[in-house]
């Protein structure tokens, strides 16, 4: 039984990290934007559910009061409705996804505007600063998602019997991850995808070819943020709460640093590598989590395992940068039809 829940945990985090890391891979691996504010788009997904959809539901159901208390009342009511008719639950879920993707896309495009024409170091600093500031505002301002108290979210999968709920959510996460994988693989294998790599390799040459690097970056960030906000929605419906203090304490580590770790582990600029990286990371993380009480008691120290995990994964990142910066699966040259023909000709 324990092993079964371990497997489910691994699959859940694998799916979530596939979504976020693939979107970061389009931004960083393909287009070369060091998006150190990746966490923002995941948080946007959670805020859309907790701050916007919950408010709409409160208005529809006629629940009075502020967001913190009103959200738990409305969640109870919606749960009862969803239990009787799954259609409402699925419709609500789809609505949340669509809304989050739209808002995530807009936020992503706005997010990079101040620094879109600048060098990589400025880009990274500004993106990180915006994400951290937004996180902090969410934490302090009770109007957005309830500040310290957080917001309850209706269970859109309430129609699933409670014993099957976790496997069901894992299934939903994995199928959306597959969808994202297929979609992004399609996108990066178009002329647009090749343009991204060209911008990454040499901005000036692309400018000389008449491409507007700023527009390419804005479009890419819009795409990446829109997709990553899906993960925020999924995470919210898994935990059924939106907690801004967890954004503050874990946001940057879990949704910026770890996706970068996954990409560098698997191999930047190729989607198969990122999927492999996500799987290895999720497995490692869950195994450490599974054995953490043994590890901590073996050390004889008053230590929480999460700190050890931070050190472990920070060191892992440095080791990758030192010894295997290209990742486990190396980026392959792009083989378009004309290039394939040319290669054949050269061979014969």
């Amino acid at each position: 039984m324990e092993v079964w829940s371990l497997i489910l945990n691994i699959l859940l985090w694998f799916g979530l990290y596939v979504i976020v890391s693939l979107s970061l891979n389009v931004e960083y691996g393909y287009c070369g934007i060091p998006n150190f504010g990746k966490a923002l788009s995941v948080i946007i997904g959670a805020v859309v559910v907790g701050g916007i959809v919950t408010r709409i539901l409160m208005a529809i159901m006629g629940v009075q009061g502020d967001l913190v208390s009103g959200s738990s009342v409305v969640s109870g009511k919606i749960n009862a409705v969803v239990q009787s008719d799954p259609v409402y639950g699925i419709a609500l879920f789809v609505l949340c996804l669509v809304l989050a993707v739209i808002i995530g896309t807009i936020v992503g495009a706005l997010f990079i505007l101040p620094s879109a024409r600048l060098r990589e170091d400025y880009l990274a600093i500004t993106l990180l600063a915006i994400a951290e500031t937004f996180t902090m505002v969410c934490y302090y301002n009770p109007v957005i998602v309830g500040s310290y108290y957080g917001v309850s979210v209706p269970d859109v999968f309430a129609f699933v019997p409670s014993s099957m709920r976790y496997p069901f959510i894992v299934g939903v996460v994995l199928s959306l991850a597959l969808l994202v994988y297929i979609l992004l693989n399609r996108i990066v294998n178009t002329p647009y995808g090749r343009l991204l790599k060209a911008v990454r390799e040499n901005e000036d040459v692309m400018k000389a070819y008449g491409r507007n690097v700023m527009t390419v970056r804005i479009k890419t960030m819009a795409l990446g943020s829109g997709i990553a906000s899906i993960a925020g929605v999924l995470l919210t419906f898994y935990t059924l709460r939106v907690q801004p203090d967890s954004f503050l304490n874990y946001g940057r580590t879990f949704w910026t640093f770890f996706p970068f770790l996954i990409i560098l582990l698997g191999g930047a600029g190729n989607n198969r590598g990122v999927v492999l990286g996500s799987f290895i990371f999720a497995t490692l993380w869950e195994l450490v989590d599974f054995y953490k009480s043994n590890i901590v008691s073996a050390l004889h120290l008053p230590v929480e395992a999460v700190w050890l995990e931070y050190i472990l994964f920070g060191v892992l990142m440095l080791l990758i940068l030192f010894y295997k910066p290209e990742g486990l699966i190396k980026e392959k040259p792009i083989m378009t039809e004309p290039i394939k023909r040319k290669a054949k000709k050269l061979k014969s």
Binding site: N249, T253, E309
Partner: protein, 306 residues
């Protein structure tokens, strides 16, 4: 502590941090995302010395200077130098400092737990405000922070402009390759800048708990203000970092204070980082190379309409 005094103390500390960030950016061209952790490292040095040996935080400044310097130098030697040798690009180096920040966060968490079990009180959050004494109606932390910054600036000036090593350092910033040909050990100047950066950040960290509470998220929040100060200054100018530190430090406290008085809403006081972010965005849109990059003669000519 009045609002203006608080703003000045904060500006002094921010200037120390921005100076350190700018120094390392000038020599190694990588923005150090672990600068906030360097500062909180100093806070924990001070807390340890105070709680276990009863050494007053002001007296622990020299110790924090040395230990912080060692942390900075160690960062360069262990993490950055090998990467630079392998020809890593700036993004790789930035990711490495981000990884270091996470490692330091982990060690900090463990250390806070161990220290807490030794002194039998929680150490995840702490403040030194109860240690502030008033000298002629002025909080002594204001005087101490001013003395630290004056000493730092005088020392830095003497070092950069009056010693051979300073000339070598400035030359290696201007043109690393040429100065290497002239026999300057660029490695040494880089190592020194990292030592100084860590040392200054650590001293700022010792004094920070006199102004605000140290919480687990302090390091990652203060980095926004540090970057704002450095970016306003142009990211690679020492004078710019000093100006930026004071501009960002005072506006963070004063703008939020004035807004909170005007709107009669004390809740606005916590949004200092939003001011920093606005300053970053305005700087990048109007003058991306910061105060140091503006051609002031041109501006004056344009203002006077000639």
């Amino acid at each position: 502590m009045s609002v203006v005094e608080g703003a000045l103390i904060y500006s002094n500390l921010l200037t120390l941090l921005a100076l350190g960030l700018t120094l390392t950016y000038m020599t190694t061209a990588v923005p150090n995302f672990a600068q906030g952790s360097f500062a909180v490292f100093g806070s924990y040095v001070a807390l340890t010395l105070w709680k276990i040996w009863g050494i007053h935080p002001y007296q622990s400044l020299p110790i924090a200077f040395v230990l912080g310097g060692l942390l900075g130098a160690g960062t360069y030697l262990i993490v950055l130098k090998p990467l630079i040798k392998r020809g890593a690009n700036v993004v790789t180096l930035m990711i490495a400092t981000l990884a270091l920040d996470l490692i330091l966060l982990g060690f900090r968490g463990i250390y806070a737990g161990i220290l807490g079990s030794i002194i039998r009180q929680p150490c995840e959050m702490f403040m030194f405000t109860y240690l502030v004494k008033y000298v002629f109606g002025v909080p002594d932390i204001l005087l101490v922070s001013f003395s630290v910054i004056v000493l730092t600036l005088v020392g830095l000036f003497l070092l950069l402009y009056k010693t051979k090593f300073g000339i070598a350092l400035r030359a290696s910033v201007e043109n690393p390759m040429l100065s290497e040909i002239m026999g300057v050990d660029v490695e040494k100047t880089r190592l020194f800048s990292w030592f100084l950066s860590g040392a200054l950040a650590s001293m700022a960290g010792v004094l920070l708990p006199f102004k605000q509470e140290i919480v687990p998220a302090t390091a990652e929040l203060i980095i926004v203000s540090i970057f704002a100060a450095s970016i306003v200054g142009g990211l690679s100018s020492i004078v710019g970092a000093i100006l930026g530190g004071y501009i960002v430090g005072t506006s963070e406290s004063l703008v939020t204070y004035i807004l909170s008085v005007l709107t009669n809403n004390a809740g606005l006081l916590v949004y200092g980082k939003v001011v920093s972010l606005v300053i970053i965005v305005i700087t990048l849109l109007v003058a991306p190379s910061g105060l140091a990059g503006i051609n002031w003669r041109k501006v004056i000519r344009w203002r006077s309409g000639r």
